[in-house]
Each structure stands twice: as structure tokens, then as C-alpha cells.
Symmetry: C2
């Protein structure tokens, strides 16, 4: 324990999770560690839930995190303990509560959350609860498998509870680079010029007096829920790899490419797998989340360095990575999400950004979050931070969903997360659309012809043709724009479009 809690005074603050959960009061704003189910707090949320089940003493909190938590999101939501939730979640129970209007969910660009607390637009934070490998002599908190918003939460919170997770090896110490921008108006540039530039501490600075409790746990992270690639995701990855080769041939990229970002998902994983056999070398990664494929690329010698703010690994890869950290030590860094997703750095590096869309309209607007324009899936996450600022912005989606009953290419998206201005390249299993330098009507043609499923292509052409006759920079038929969604809602199948539409 002396290794794990190096400040002798703080060893007296060790307590049970049940004791720790008593610090949580009804109505508190609580900031917790956790990003893509990694490095999240585990023992205290469970103890809170157990206590409430036992005592019926309902304490509802405003819960802020890095991104999605593991089981804690599910426990807290299904026991009605969450009043507000921000900035991201991907939990089925939480999703249901959000869509019933029970949980007030504020999804945010993941780089924005820290600024909004720092500026006082939300908050203050009453309590931070963060998972750690260890606490330094000075109270510094060494995070585990994600950094997320923990540095900001610890800095801003009145009180801090630390979960020391013994299942996290001490070899994690040194892979974090903790830097927080100053409060404005006196702020310096964020001096990351290359993906491997280190600018901060390897721990989160914290006044030991603020640490009111330390809970010892040994529970591993929840493994990622990665869906294995299928034929269609392989095809999409193939188009992206061809595009990258095309960019190199035209001198827009070198064979080192540019730092790569990928959202969580099987297409991104398939692209990274494809890179193993590619002519590219000395690749760099500047992303939010490092998935299994990043480590496969390391093992095949293709990647020089990877920067992220969290892992998201299968159980098998997690065990491998955590036991082999010394081998990766000089090639990976975990940063706060404000830095991994910072517009300043993403733009300076000219990142290649790959993220998943739920649906795309014929002019290139992207919906990443809302089913039928109303029901939240997960949240916008970091996709906007990257899409707006990247050197090359790619969105991917299969051309249909629900066994063909839904076309992912629609006349008019039912919700906009990324506007036409923030999208360069779109990919489905049908093909790729390069929108750079195109006007809306030109974009409509390549999107319909290259991306849509054959079953829906004629209907899309027909919509666009009839809309174009009515004129406008971005032609639409207002009476039909959302009719595809309406049709799905009413008949459970977009293929049963009304005669006027099909």
C-alpha cells in the first residue's frame, strides 16, 4: 500500500466504498473518471446503489464524466439516481431514461465540457470521484486507463474521492501527460506540435487536503463491446485505404499520412487492420480512444506513436496491454480529453478524422446521434471536435440499416450533428463520395450515385430531380423531406414509401 499511497497522511483516509458513498448528497454535481468504459469509478457508484436499495434514501445527482462509464452508468440510471448526465453515454438503460425524459442529458463536444466548468457556465463541482493507480507524495493522482475530464474535475471540485484500483499495474505510471489550459484571459498556446510532444505532468496535481476518502478496489475495466468486422465494413475500410493511397499519389499526403483519429467502431478498426498490409509507414495516431487495432498496428511495426485520452480494449487485448506496458511506454500517451480533442491541436496537426454516421442526407449533412430525429443513441462525443478541425474529415455508415428497412442516405437528415461544411468524404459499402470543392447540387449527385443502396437510389434521384426543378441553392421538397422517416415510423419500413415518394 505504501507504493500505491505514497503520502503517509493520506493512508489514514482509506475507507470502505460504503463509507465513501455517504459523502454523496442529494442534488450534488459529481464529476467522475471514465471514458469508453475505461478507467471509470466502480466501487463507490455500486456502494451508492446498494445503499439506496437497502435504505431507500434516494440521492439524485448531476453526473459528469469523461465519456461513457462501464456498469456504473447502468446501475445509477436504472436506480433513478441520475438527474442530469453529461457529456456522453452509451448505456442502454441510460438511453432509455434519457428518451423517456427522465434523465436530463446534455451531450456536448467532448472538448467543451472542461471549458464550461472553468468558465463557470455550469457547476460548481461538489465532488470528484476518480480511479487511480496510485497517489504521489504530494497528493498527485495517477489515472488508470483513461484520463478524460478527471484533471478538470479534481482541479475544480471541492472534495475528491479516489478509488485505487489494484488490478491496474503500476507500470501505467508515466504514460499520462496531464496538462490543463489556463483560465482565460491569460492562456498560453498548447505547445503540441507533434503527436509525441509531452507538455504536462504524469499525475493530476491535487491538494491532499481535498482528498476526503480513498477506496481500494481491484475490479478490471469492462471490456469493449466491439462488433467484429463483416464483409461490408471490410469494403468500407478498403475504400478509405484506396483514398489514402490516392492522396499520397497526388502529393497531398506523404506515406506517413497525417495523424489518424478514429471514432469507436468496427469500420475504424477495419481501416486500422488494413493499414497493417498497407504501403504506409511510421504512422501516427492522435485520437480519443485507442482500440485493439492500434496495438495490432504497433505489433506489426507500422505505428510510431499513438496519443489518446483512453483505451477501449477487448478483454484479451486489455490483458496483453496491461502486462506489456513497458514495451509500449515510449510510444503511447494518455492526455486529458480537452487536449486530445482540442481544436487548436487537431487543426495544427492536420488530423485525418474517421467517424461513424447514423444517417447522411443528399447534401452531406450528418446525423450521428438521433434515431428518427428524436431518440438519442449515444451522443455527439468528440466527432465534432475532429470533423470541424481535421485536415481530412471522413464519415462512414452502411447504406442501409435494419435489414434494408432503413436507408442511411435520406433526402433530409432528421437531426444535424455535422453540417455539410464539416464533411469531406463519405463512405458506405456501396462506395465513396469525395465532396471537397463541390456545391450542394454536385454533392447530391455523387452521394446518391456512389453511396446509396440500389433499392433506394431511384427514389433519391427522383426526389432530387423534382426538388431541383423548384430551385434553390439546396433544393428540397418540404412536404416530402421527412417523409421517409415518417414512413418508417408508421410502417416500420422505409421501403413502403408512399406512391408519391417512390
Amino acid at each position: 500500500m505504501e507504493h500505491r499511497i505514497r503520502n503517509s497522511f493520506l493512508r489514514s483516509r482509506v475507507m470502505s466504498a460504503d463509507e465513501a458513498q455517504e459523502w454523496i448528497r442529494d442534488g450534488m454535481t459529481v464529476g467522475v473518471s471514465g471514458f469508453t468504459r475505461c478507467g471509470d469509478v466502480k466501487a463507490v457508484p455500486r456502494a451508492l446503489v446498494n445503499n439506496i436499495r437497502k435504505t431507500g434514501d434516494l440521492r439524485r445527482i448531476h453526473l459528469y464524466s469523461g465519456a461513457s462509464l462501464g456498469e456504473a452508468d447502468s446501475w445509477l440510471s436504472s436506480n433513478h439516481l441520475v438527474d442530469r448526465r453529461s457529456p456522453y453515454q452509451s448505456d442502454p438503460e441510460t438511453r432509455k431514461s434519457i428518451n423517456r425524459g427522465e434523465i436530463r442529458y446534455i451531450e456536448q463536444h467532448l472538448s467543451h465540457t472542461a471549458e464550461s466548468f472553468r468558465d463557470g457556465n455550469v457547476g460548481p463541482i461538489d465532488l470528484a470521484i476518480v480511479e487511480a493507480v496510485a497517489i504521489t507524495e504530494d497528493g498527485g493522482i495517477i489515472p488508470t486507463t483513461s484520463v478524460g475530464n478527471s484533471p478538470l474535475f479534481v482541479q475544480q471540485a471541492k472534495q475528491v474521492i479516489v478509488e485505487i484500483n489494484l488490478s491496474m499495474p503500476e507500470s501505467l505510471i508515466g504514460i499520462h501527460d496531464i496538462y490543463l489550459p489556463e483560465r482565460r484571459p491569460f492562456r498560453s498556446p498548447i505547445d503540441i506540435r507533434q503527436v509525441d510532444d509531452l507538455i504536462g505532468y504524469h499525475y493530476i496535481p491535487c491538494d491532499p487536503e481535498k482528498i476526503i476518502g480513498i477506496v481500494i478496489t481491484d475490479e478490471p475495466d469492462s471490456p469493449s463491446r466491439m462488433i467484429p468486422p463483416d464483409e461490408e465494413t471490410q469494403q468500407m475500410a478498403g475504400y478509405i485505404l484506396e483514398l489514402l493511397e490516392h492522396e499520397v499519389r497526388h502529393g497531398r499526403l506523404t506515406d506517413k499520412l497525417a495523424p489518424l483519429q478514429s471514432g469507436v467502431g468496427s469500420v475504424a478498426n477495419a481501416v486500422f487492420s488494413g493499414l497493417e498490409q498497407s504501403p504506409f509507414n511510421q504512422l501516427e495516431i492522435y485520437t480519443e480512444v485507442m482500440q485493439d487495432s492500434v496495438f495490432h498496428l504497433f505489433d506489426s511495426g507500422k505505428v510510431a506513436f499513438a496519443s489518446g485520452c483512453s483505451f477501449s480494449l477487448s478483454q484479451r487485448m486489455r490483458d496483453h496491454v496491461l502486462s506489456s506496458l513497458p514495451q509500449y511506454r515510449n510510444q503511447i500517451v494518455l492526455r486529458p480529453q480537452e487536449i486530445s480533442n482540442h481544436p487548436e491541436v487537431i487543426r495544427r496537426l492536420g488530423v485525418i478524422a474517421m467517424n461513424a454516421a447514423l444517417e447522411i442526407d443528399i447534401y452531406g449533412n450528418v446525423n450521428s446521434t438521433h434515431v428518427l430525429g428524436t431518440h438519442m443513441m449515444n451522443g455527439i462525443g468528440g466527432s465534432g471536435d475532429f470533423a470541424r478541425n481535421a485536415g481530412l474529415t471522413i464519415f462512414v455508415t452502411k447504406s442501409t440499416a435494419k435489414n434494408g428497412k432503413v436507408s442511411s442516405i435520406v433526402p433530409f437528415v432528421s437531426h444535424v450533428d455535422h453540417t455539410e461544411h464539416d464533411v469531406d468524404i463519405l463512405v458506405t459499402e456501396q462506395g465513396i463520395a469525395d465532396l471537397r470543392g463541390l456545391s450542394p447540387r454536385e454533392r447530391a449527385k455523387v452521394i446518391i450515385e456512389n453511396l446509396s443502396h440500389p433499392f433506394y437510389k431511384d427514389a433519391l434521384r427522383d426526389y432530387f430531380q423534382r426538388a431541383s426543378v423548384q430551385g434553390g441553392h439546396t433544393p428540397h421538397l418540404l412536404e416530402e423531406a421527412l417523409s421517409w422517416h415518417r414512413q418508417f415510423k408508421e410502417a416500420g419500413d422505409m421501403r413502403k414509401l408512399e406512391p408519391s415518394v417512390l
Copy 2:
């Protein structure tokens, strides 16, 4: 002339506008100076139009600028000389051609255009035509009343034509700060930490060999088309000033506020006028465009420094400013639009951004560009650069348009330029809505109650109430979402909403 063309070799390149226009060939990509009708090229476009009228020799070009040109946009569009146009325009003739689908218009975030040329995503630029006060010994081009994208165009173009405008006083020399970010992947931070930091040259570096022609003109800029404030814009300005005082009281801002940005428009002008009587002091401005009100604030001693990329002045104020430049010399700077609008700088400074909306939906999404979702007004301009990255983002619109026939607050915007994630504060003459930290359903309530016109309030409440019953994070009725726009299109009046809607 020796003062104006200090490189003696280049004096031999002086030619008539008619000779200069012969360099323009059919299909060329041409980058021209000009931003909000200031510092735009004047003589060569007019000579091109005259030549074509005379000879019938139609040469259609891809026209890139800083932002809106003066008369040149109108001449070129109405004579069918523009094939593509980017990144912004505000000309009635050009707008008509765009909406007929004749001109292929690619509106862009104004900070993005330079990057897309630099990366090779569009271009190359065949010819740059820029207005200048003078040319230095080394060929350096000193811009006039706007900088816009001229430095990038001059850097990237194969050939350059300069219009030396003798109506522009030599006292303009020294007010520009020309800095272009390096081509990636080796780029330094943009080292602006305070609005008055100067980081570049006072001229656009240019190899004299590239300057193939110099045309002497003496035509002043077109004056701005500012609409004078009315009672409603004064009310809106009043709400914003109250908000700023509120922020100071709560310690989120000091009485210096934060650097101010305002889009072109009468509300922003009214806010700035209101600041003359405010308790704030030593104000700073970090914006695209300096309008009349900026100089009124200087004259009342309220502003310490103003940074922009262009002027946009009434004729009277223009005459005053151009004849009084030595007085303002140490308090103003004109930068390239890539720098005035750079996410890195806007975010670092924590700018307060005020921009105009065309319509707003009940969840806070903003349409700034498309009438009825189809017809382009001007373009997104720099509003997105500021809205996404500012410390405080404000959008303003009157609650109705067309004498009440159109509600600017609608269930569902017909086009999205700025998503709910990029909007903090909304203002109409009815009131102000502070959306910070609110979930979509909470936002809907304050937007409807605080912002909508009394005539439409019940219909909006009814829509939201019925949609909420159907559920979802962002409740909507797909069949009615666009019905208000449809109604206006069919009946010319949203007030004639169908019984199912009203």
C-alpha cells in the same frame, strides 16, 4: 508613383485594366481581394465585363474571395462570368444565380478556405488579383481596407495582378499584420495571446516576378449597407448588455469583458453603441469586420484595441477613418481572415461572439443562411468559426419576419448552420434565453416562453407538448416538423397554420 511602387522593375508592369483583364482565361481559378465590400478589386473585373460585352468572348471563372465583394460580384454574376463562387457573397444578383443553380456556390467557414487551398483539396489558383496601397521594394503587397484571403492567394497563385488604389491613403501602411500558418505537418502555434499581439509582416510577401500586371485605380470602396437600428434591435441590444452585466456580477467576466466579435448587422451595431454608456472599460475587439460602431467606441474611449480582417463602414465613417488613421494606428490591426477567425485564437481568447440567425428551432439549432431550407441568402461566413470556439456564443434574430407572417422561432429549422451544441444565448426583441447547461426539453421551454412572438407562442407550446408525449430526447412530430415552412410557402403566411397545427 515611386511611393506607391517602390520596386523600380515593377513600374514597367503598369498597364491598363483592359490589358490586365486579358490575362483572365476561361476556366481559370481566380483569387481576389475583398471582404464585406472593402478592399475588393474593382478595375479589372469591370474591364473584364466591358470586354465581354464588347466582344462576346465569354470567359467563366472559379471565383474565390475573402468574403463579399462590392459591385464586382454583381457585374460578374449578371454577365454570367462566374462558374464557381466561394466562400461568401451577399450580392442580390449573385444570390439569384446561385438559387437558380447557375453559379456553383461553395459557402465555407471563412477560416477553412485557406486550408483547403494549402492542402490541395481545391485549386491550384491560377491568378490572384488584389488591391493594394503600395508595393514594397521587394515586391511586398500592402493591402488596403481588408486582408481577407489575399495573403494565401498571392502565396499560392501562379500569377498576380495588383490594383494600386490611389484613393487609399498611404497612412494605411502599417495597420496590417500578415501571418500565414505553415503548411502541415510542421506548423507552429499561432502566437496571439492578447488581441494586440502582432506576429507577422505589414505586407504580403510576393516574388516580384509573379506580378504580371499593375493597374492604377482611384475608386473608393462601396459603402456598407447598414440598416439603422430600430426599436426592436435596441431592445435586443439591451438584453445583451444586461446579460454582460449579469456575467460580471457573477464573476464569470471582468468589467473588461472578453474580446468581442460581432457579425455584420444592426443588432451588433446597437450593442456596440450601448457599450458607450456601459460600465465596461478597456474593451477589446477580436472580430472579422470593424463596423462604424467600433470607431464610435474608440472615440468614446471605451475600446483599448480592435483586431479584424476588414472594415465595413458607411461612406461618412470611411472618410473619417481614412483621414484619421494616424490617430487609430496603435489601436487597430487588420489580419488575414484565417487568423481573425482561427479556432485556436478564438478559443484561447475566450471571445464573446454575437451573430445573426435567420431562424431558430425550439431546441436551439440555428439557421443562418437558407430561406425555407432551400434558398441561399448570403452564406455561413465566419459565424461558425466563432460560435463553435467562443467563450460565450450569442445569436440574435427578431421573433418574426415579413410583418409577422414568418415566425423566426420554429419547431424544426429548415436548415442547420449551427447545432444546439454551439449556442449559449439566444435573443429576440421578446427576450433572452440562456441555454447553458440545459437539456433539450429545458431549452424548448425557455426558447418558447422567452423568445417567441405572442402570436405564435401557443402553437409552439402545443407542438412541444404533443411531441413530448411521443417521447425521445429531442421530441418532434415528423409530420408537422416542417409544416410551418410549408404553410408559408403555400399561403405566404405562417399565421394561416392548418387547424391540426394551430
